[in-house]
């Protein structure tokens, strides 16, 4: 299991290859990459705030829960903080398992929990002003799927 919380950019392709190399014996590798999208009003930057210390702890708990639920050969979570330009990668999750369903479900699960239970907050800084991205009830409801 690899968890990284960092300000620097990461190269999703190189991360995927390194992850696959570590995941010996796995037949199914799923990755998710989140990218900063432009928004109406013209995005200047997406600012991501975090709670150092709790972030690592919360992500480790989420990953542990996924590993106890699915048989995963390997798990990767990378999440950035700081100001990110449109088009920049925000975060990445990868899961490896013997079977496809486990890899897909675990990646989806990790994303649901990272979204609502890892202490990150997004602020959109646009040409028209800035505002904090609000959590949606769908985000919270998504957790009840599991």
């Amino acid at each position: 299991m690899t968890v990284r919380v960092q300000q620097e950019a990461f190269a999703a392709g190189a991360e995927l290859d390194a992850f696959t190399a570590r995941a010996t014996g796995a037949g199914a590798i799923v990755s998710f990459t989140g990218v900063v999208r432009d928004v109406a009003g013209g995005l200047i930057a997406m600012e991501i705030e975090q709670y150092p210390g709790m972030t690592e702890r919360a992500i480790a708990e989420i990953v542990d829960a996924a590993r106890s639920r699915w048989d995963l050969a390997e798990v990767l979570v990378i999440h950035r903080h700081g100001p990110l330009a449109p088009g920049a990668p925000i975060m990445m999750v990868a899961t490896a398992s013997a079977h496809r369903a486990a890899a897909f479900e675990a990646a989806d699960y990790l994303m649901d929990y990272l979204k609502s239970r890892a202490p990150f907050w997004k602020k959109e800084i646009t040409q028209r002003g800035e505002h904090w991205v609000e959590a949606t009830t769908q985000d919270e409801d998504a957790l009840s799927r599991w």
Binding site: L114, R117, D139
Partner: protein, 83 residues
């Protein structure tokens, strides 16, 4: 007791600082918020609607009525938007 109190996102912005040490006898986060709210308008503004906020005790999400006894770090923030 003395608590390290942290604020994130718009809670931090409204209060105007990321953290502070708070001397309190509050038994729960709810009671602590009452005390902070009474301090100054900027705290009242930040804590106007606690239903829109979450609290963590020593870096674990907690209930508003959880005991503060033994806790060293309390954080207040809006619902997370990671991912």
């Amino acid at each position: 007791m003395t608590l390290q109190v942290l604020y994130f996102a718009w809670v931090r912005e409204r209060i105007g600082l990321p953290k502070e040490r708070v001397e309190t006898q509050a038994a729960t986060p709810r009671a602590l918020v009452e005390e902070l709210r009474a301090r100054e308008p900027r705290y009242a503004a930040a804590f106007a609607d606690t239903a829109a906020l979450k609290v963590a005790l020593d870096q674990e999400l907690a209930e508003w009525d959880a005991p503060l006894a033994g806790v060293r770090e309390v954080a207040f923030f809006p619902p997370m938007t990671g991912g």
